[in-house]
């Protein structure tokens, strides 16, 4: 797919992961119409395509993005990823279940995050509960103020901190950094990965967050030691 379609409002080009649509400046309604016009003009080219939308720093709300996704899907196109430097837009896309970054070669990023040290590394803060079906992936640390429910996924190149109950799946140090850690007020993930290490917690433990007696839970931290993932009570005095 090397065909390029251009006009002054939107740019479309073929990439490894589908078609990349870059929108220019201007009113959203106008851009949206321009995109749909393009799609209709070249219906056979677009049919069945997987689209990545690069919105730059534009802020879009769920209703706008959701209705565009619906319009595209009616024309046989799946909008699977949205790239944006706007935080609101990124979060909107994640809530709607779209990816917000493209898979990139892992090697180069792995090196970057291991050399980075702790100062000045980037992090994202989510101030809400991640419900089932939400996937949050980020090339830095992830902090969630809220719960991570069963069926939600976090993939971070750095550490994952959950100020709440962690019951979904989590992968810290995803680009290959085994010194990453995961901590939560209640650590009961369905699956926990750090770099290449994996631990499926005993089912009884996972259910303890859902069924049974309401024991007081302790904040816990998971990290890799001697080639396996260890979960310990959080004890700030030892650190």
């Amino acid at each position: 797919m090397t065909e390029e379609i251009q006009n002054n409002l939107i740019q479309i080009k073929g990439i490894r992961d589908g078609l990349l649509v870059t929108v220019g400046q201007g009113e959203w309604d106008e851009l949206r119409r321009a995109l749909l016009r393009q799609v209709e003009d070249k219906a056979s080219f677009f049919h069945g395509a997987r689209l990545v939308l690069d919105l730059g720093d534009r802020t879009l709300h769920a209703a706008e993005l959701g209705s565009l996704r619906d319009d595209l899907s009616e024309r046989g196109i799946s909008l699977w990823a949205v790239l944006s430097t706007s935080h609101t837009t990124e979060q909107t896309a994640q809530v709607l279940g779209m990816a917000t970054r493209l898979p990139s070669p892992r090697v180069s990023r792995a090196r970057g995050s291991q050399e980075g040290g702790s100062a000045g590394e980037k992090a994202v803060l989510m101030q809400r509960t991640l419900r089932s079906g939400t996937r949050l992936s980020y090339d830095g640390h992830v902090v969630v103020m809220g719960d991570v429910n069963p069926g939600a996924e976090i993939i971070a190149d750095g550490n994952v901190i959950v100020w709440g109950k962690l019951r979904g799946s989590v992968h810290a140090g995803a680009s290959g950094n085994p010194s990453a850690s995961v901590c939560a007020l209640e650590l009961a993930p369905a699956q926990l990965r750090i770099a290449g290490y994996l631990t499926a917690l005993p089912v009884r433990r996972f259910l303890s967050g859902l069924v049974g007696k309401k024991g007081r839970s302790q904040p816990e931290i998971a990290s890799v030691r001697d080639g396996q993932i260890i979960i310990e009570q959080w004890n700030p005095k030892e650190k």
Partner: protein, 267 residues
Amino acid sequence: MAAKVVTIASGKGGVGKTTTTANLAVALAADGHKVVCIDADIGLRNLDVVLGLENRIVYDLVDVVEGRCRLRQAMIKDKRFPELHLIPAAQTRDKNSVSPGDMIRLCDELRPDHDWILIDSPAGIERGFRNAIAPADMLLVVTNPEVSAVRDADRIIGLIEAEEKGPARLIINRMNPTLVKRGDMLTSADVHELLAIELIGIVPEDESVIISSNRGQPVAMNGNKRAGAAFHNIARRLNGEEVPFLQLDSRDGLMGRISRLIRPGGS
């Protein structure tokens, strides 16, 4: 008069969306409200069966949308409750026969003459679900106290929040106090704590629900049944009344025994 549009959704199938829709419709109509139910489960219709109206279908939702009949012609009047109407789904078409825009237009046409419009959503998170929530002013998320149903409800609530619809309220259906007491079922507190939306009703497991659905007489027509009473309570809460929750989880053993003493065989 401007109707409130309430969509009943769940994500997972078989948790009791259609039963809930039928019973809330009956409970609201019994309280004198003008109610119209819309079966949005095109291709797998069964709200008509639960309401006992399947033999009276002439036109359906798709006929209205595609202009083959007027809206009034597709509305089946329930003879037991003159203020209760049903717009049935088409059985021979699929979800793509209707768009979210069609549903919004349809509800706008119904709003002036009714108090409540109840939409029975299909299971799943695809087109049919999006059709059903498009016109909603409020959503009722139905779940069972099971891990799988709760996870799907959580997904649905996430989608409702993402589409900026709502508010979403929770109905926990088929609560079995005996299993809860043995620690073999999620408690309503467990479910509510995970889903973290306002709880509007807990409906106990009750075999009379199945029996009455099979007869086409929703259990809410019989206020003596525990599940019927629970649906009436939800209807009253929808109208803004403060109705205390039946204490199913903790005190049911005693309550059950007392109620059985008072009316033998009554529960």
